[in-house]
């Protein structure tokens, strides 16, 4: 039973082996705990969400008076409008910024890349404050000066700007990475025919990178769809169904927040239903794009 080591002392092989198994088991438990947490959240979401879901939730707008006519339509539409506005502002800047990173080199380009990472790590509530100061306050001052009583400054536009700022670093990064994957031979072939750099980028390189860029965009959209903090002081939320760009607008995250912090079974139900819809929206955007682009990647080669 007793084995001796090289140096003649008592062997501790059994103890070492036991420690090994113990520590490895603990590590596996770490992974298990993380997945368990995920499971708890998702199971809760799905069960309560389904319980609270009804057709009414989807087709009715918010109705504080009559619970039977209450629904999430304005929140869903609001989220879509916000994502759309953010895209119109954020996509051109993000994609063109990514193009710049690929075309340029040198100190400025690396500084911008560094700053993009900085922008990415700023808490979204700070962005919300920034857009509040930048957009909401001037608009409300203007409204006051011109006696426009129903313009508060909070608006879908402000919310869109805030979400766009959140989008830009992600889009820039993914666009740059995807463009770098396009073979140099393609670009050289175009340049050698006498095409200008912009022609080469827009006619050859960007189309070749299309699917990768779309994936990046969808993932960025999925992320901003769930953001609440930046909307707190910008889009603000609206009980009335509105699609106006310069009025406050409801959204799924906002409506979940409001309903979850109010007492009452109906509010709780609305919060759960909203959360389920939001998660379905986010997951489907992420998963569908990943699946779709996996296929086309293989077709090209």
């Amino acid at each position: 039973m007793t084995t001796t080591t090289l140096h003649g002392g008592p062997s501790n092989v059994k103890a070492r082996k036991a420690t090994n198994i113990l520590m490895l088991a603990l590590c596996s438990m770490g992974a298990a705990v993380a997945i368990a947490a995920l499971g708890l959240v998702l199971v809760y979401l799905v069960t309560n969400g389904i319980q609270s879901m009804s057709i009414g939730m989807l087709i009715h707008s918010a109705n504080v008076m009559d619970p039977a006519q209450d629904g999430l339509k304005n929140a869903i539409v609001g989220t879509l409008i916000l994502i759309g506005t953010a895209s119109i502002i954020g996509l051109p800047i993000g994609i063109l910024g990514g193009v710049y990173q690929v075309e340029a080199s040198g100190k400025f380009a690396s500084t911008v890349r560094f700053l993009t990472d900085v922008l990415n790590s700023i808490p979204s509530i700070v962005i919300g404050i920034f857009v509040y100061i930048l957009v909401v306050v001037p608009v409300s001052k203007y409204a006051n000066a011109h006696h426009l009583t129903n313009v508060s400054g909070y608006s879908a536009f402000a919310g869109g700007v805030a979400l766009a700022i959140l989008m830009i670093p992600t889009i820039m990064r993914t666009t740059e990475e995807i463009l770098r994957l396009v073979p140099v031979a393609l670009r050289e072939g175009s340049l050698a025919l006498g095409a200008t750099r912009w022609r080469t980028m827009f006619s050859i390189v960007l189309p070749a990178a299309k699917s990768g860029i779309i994936t990046g965009v969808m993932l960025a959209l999925a992320r901003i769809a769930g953001e609440t903090a930046p909307l707190l002081f910008t889009a603000f939320g609206n009980n009335v169904f509105s699609t106006k760009l310069f009025q406050p607008i409801d959204s799924l995250p906002w409506s979940i927040f409001i309903n979850a912090t109010q007492p009452g079974v109906d509010s709780e139900a609305k919060a759960h239903a909203g959360a389920l819809i939001l998660i379905l929206l986010i997951f489907s955007m992420s998963l569908i794009t990943r699946y779709a682009t996996r296929k086309s990647f293989m077709e090209d080669k």
């Binding site: 770490g30 800047i93 700053l115 404050i129 820039m172 912090t261």
Partner: protein, 342 residues
């Protein structure tokens, strides 16, 4: 011979003109294409400048808006704990404390789980298990903060209140411990730390796993060849090699915890004096006080104080994240150049 055959097969229908066409000077048409490219360069440059402008704008605009508070309260702002909107006296200490305290506990809980998961994914899991498990853990990061918030409010807080906090509080000896001293209400520091820990885990895990995976096989082989067990190899060789990067990953997690808003706001209580060391007491974070009170803050100095807190949050997260990225990049370079210092 071959030439003639080839030529007859591929007759060109029309030959280009034989007489030399007067050649355009190379500098003649310089305008059209140079202009196009110049516009192009300008446009994409402007797009990248936007990032610069935004960061610059954030600093400048927020500083300007916070100026009334900065000038009125000065440095003591960070060390006073009175927060009275009625008397217009503001001190941010409770929020700074709450942010640091909740992040501390969150990391304490998250690090073992995240590191364990990272080690599992990088060193232990068989190939077929790696992708699904990694994917599931990454899914944690895709869940929006507000969803964690409602789970925290409706499920997690009541549960830990009933199964952990009440029993501890009812036990007279345990209740003496300073960490457990307050009357458990549900929304408290423990709930906030726990939910932060869950939210931060996927980031620490992903970065740590990538770092561990980047370490070349030969490093481990050397240890095994000496008769070490797997855990001895991991703890004695692999982890030290990746030490800087893993610290970076943890600091990255810290950076995310500092800025986390919605989930924390919903479970931390937002009441009390905010300086309680007990985990069962409610508290605040910088992000939660802003989220909670900004919309109601109608007086200029009130708003300025909140914006000043936002400015602090901005600077702190920027420094923390910058530091983390430097550590991670340093480790990646170190690994790639094949040298482990330790």
């Amino acid at each position: 011979m071959a030439n003639i055959v080839a030529q007859s097969k591929n007759q060109l229908p029309t030959a280009p003109p034989a007489a030399p066409v007067p050649l355009k000077s190379l500098t003649d048409s310089s305008n059209k294409s140079l202009v196009g490219d110049r516009v192009y360069t300008g446009v994409i440059f402007a797009a990248s400048l936007t990032v610069l402008a935004i960061i610059f704008g954030i600093v400048v605009l927020m500083f300007k808006a916070a100026l009334p508070s900065i000038t009125k309260f000065g440095v003591p702002f960070f060390f006073t704990s009175t927060w009275d909107p009625n008397k217009q006296i503001f001190g941010a200490l409770p929020f700074i404390f709450g942010t640091l305290y909740s992040s501390f506990w969150a990391l304490l809980l998250a690090i073992p789980v995240s590191l364990g998961a990272a080690i599992f994914l990088s060193e232990m899991a068989p190939k077929w298990l790696r992708t699904p498990v990694g994917f599931l853990i990454e899914l944690l990061a895709a869940i929006p903060s507000i969803v964690y918030g409602i789970w925290g409010v409706f499920v997690m807080s009541p549960w830990i209140n009933q199964h952990i906090e009440r029993p501890i509080h009812d036990n007279h000896t345990l209740a003496q411990v300073i960490l457990f001293q307050a009357q458990p209400q549900g929304s408290d520091m423990l709930a906030a730390s726990l939910i932060l820990a869950i939210m931060v885990t996927p980031y620490i895990t992903a970065v740590s796993r990538d770092i561990l995976r980047a370490i070349p096989r030969v490093v481990r082989d050397g240890s095994y060849a000496l008769g070490a067990t797997q855990w001895e190899t991991i703890s004695g060789v692999v982890l030290p090699y990746a030490r800087a990067g893993i610290i970076g990953a943890v600091i990255l997690g810290l950076g995310r915890a500092l800025g986390e808003t919605m989930a924390v706001t919903m479970v931390i209580g937002n009441s009390g004096n905010g300086l309680n060391l007990s985990l069962f007491a409610p508290g605040y974070t910088m992000a939660s006080i802003i989220a909670n009170e900004f919309a109601e803050a109608s007086i200029e100095i009130y708003r300025a104080a909140l914006i000043e807190i936002g400015l602090v949050l901005f600077l702190v997260t920027m420094i923390v994240n910058g530091f983390a990225r430097v550590l991670v990049a340093y480790t990646a370079k170190d690994i790639n150049s094949g040298g482990g210092r330790k």
